[in-house]
């Protein structure tokens, strides 16, 4: 049994045509049924509203609208057909404060360029297997910026929820590991 990607559609928003082409080719090789493309956040949001994709992969730096603003629209605009849609942000930035800035806009995962096919696959797998719960407050709406971690703790169980099997701990999940060509 393997993932069956033919039934999903993914929107790629990227202003750099070679990068857009290569990202699309990777996704088609993975078996994704439909890949929709747009060249900036503005047209990206229109396509998002038209196709209601299962996943958005967007570049950060684009004009006239960047990937961060696009993410905010997906999360908060009344026209958005799915405010919970996972968004993977592609960028050359890997500094922690940039990752936090992206998370604060509602980005689900962060993919640091340059990346290889397995890096992209890992990010998509995270979205599928470890989805984030959403937080709604006066100041923020988006994926929980701490990821629920249920299996890495090996210490004593003292909480009531431990006994009922609902143990939860959290980590700030920021994967900014430098890309390795051979990984």
């Amino acid at each position: 049994m393997t993932y069956q990607f033919y039934g999903i559609n993914i929107l790629i928003v990227e202003d750099n045509q070679p990068m857009l082409d290569i990202t699309k080719s990777i996704l088609l090789t993975f078996g994704v049924g439909r890949v929709i493309t747009a060249r900036n956040g503005e047209t990206g949001f229109k396509e998002f509203c038209n196709y209601n994709p299962d996943l958005v992969i967007a570049d950060w730096m684009m004009t006239p609208m960047d990937g961060i603003t696009l993410t905010r629209l997906i999360r908060t605009d009344k026209r958005s057909p799915n405010q919970f849609c996972p968004v993977i942000l592609m960028t050359g930035f890997s500094e922690r404060r940039r990752v936090i800035q992206a998370r604060d806009a509602g980005v689900t995962e962060f993919l640091v360029k340059p990346f290889n096919a397995r890096d992209m696959y890992r990010r998509i797998t995270q979205v599928i297997e470890r989805p984030r719960q959403f937080v709604k407050s006066d100041e923020f709406f988006g994926p929980d910026r701490r990821r629920k971690n249920t299996d890495s703790y090996s210490g004593p169980m003292r909480r009531e929820s431990d006994i009922s099997g609902q143990r939860e701990s959290y980590e700030l999940d920021i994967d900014i590991t430098p890309h390795k060509k051979d990984s």
Partner: protein, 176 residues
């Protein structure tokens, strides 16, 4: 008042949306054959990075020029961003299209620009040094890591940044 009787400062609602993607794709992941095929596709891409690289280098040159013209400007953030963003594009795209040395060099340029507080003549000299080196790599079509010569060029730029911060420790953001 302590942490046990303090009023709630911010109310937050937690929502667990349905995992539509999981329901559609099922389980089991992708096999190595598919992932290797995707890696091969990426490794064998024939995109010519030079025109793209030149575009980002021109943008970096404009950023340096604008910074020079506004060196005493109060709002330093857009001045630094004008050099930082093309640097980020060079870092992100070089390695995607067989120019890992561009990525390595541009990465340290970003790290440098991310932490400086203000632009001065010495900062611009260093950024200009990065531009000249990156231009030589792109125009010389130096693919791969550039060997010992590539490492030397990179080391020289890093040392220039280190020398700058030894001389001007006050021009480094406190959180960096």
């Amino acid at each position: 008042m302590n942490q046990f009787n303090r009023p709630v400062l911010r109310k937050a609602e937690f929502i667990k949306p349905p995992n539509i993607l999981k329901a559609k794709v099922g389980s089991g992941g992708l096999g190595d054959d598919i992932l290797n095929k995707a890696e091969k596709l990426l490794a064998e891409n024939t995109v010519d990075f030079q025109p793209l690289g030149e575009m980002y280098l021109d943008s970096l040159a404009r950023g340096i020029q604008e910074a020079r013209e506004n060196i005493r400007g109060d709002d330093q953030e857009p001045i630094i961003a004008g050099m930082l963003y093309p640097g980020m594009q060079l870092k992100g795209n070089g390695g995607m299209f067989h120019y890992p040395l561009v990525t390595t060099i541009a990465d340290t340029l970003i790290q440098y620009l991310e932490v400086i507080e203000r632009v001065d003549e010495e900062v611009l000299e260093i950024v200009q040094g990065y531009h000249t080196t990156l231009r030589a790599v792109v125009m010389g079509r130096i693919k791969g890591d550039g060997g010992e010569h590539g490492r030397e060029l990179h080391r020289a730029l890093l040392e220039a940044c280190e020398r700058y911060f030894s001389k001007h420790p006050d021009n480094k953001q406190a959180s960096a």
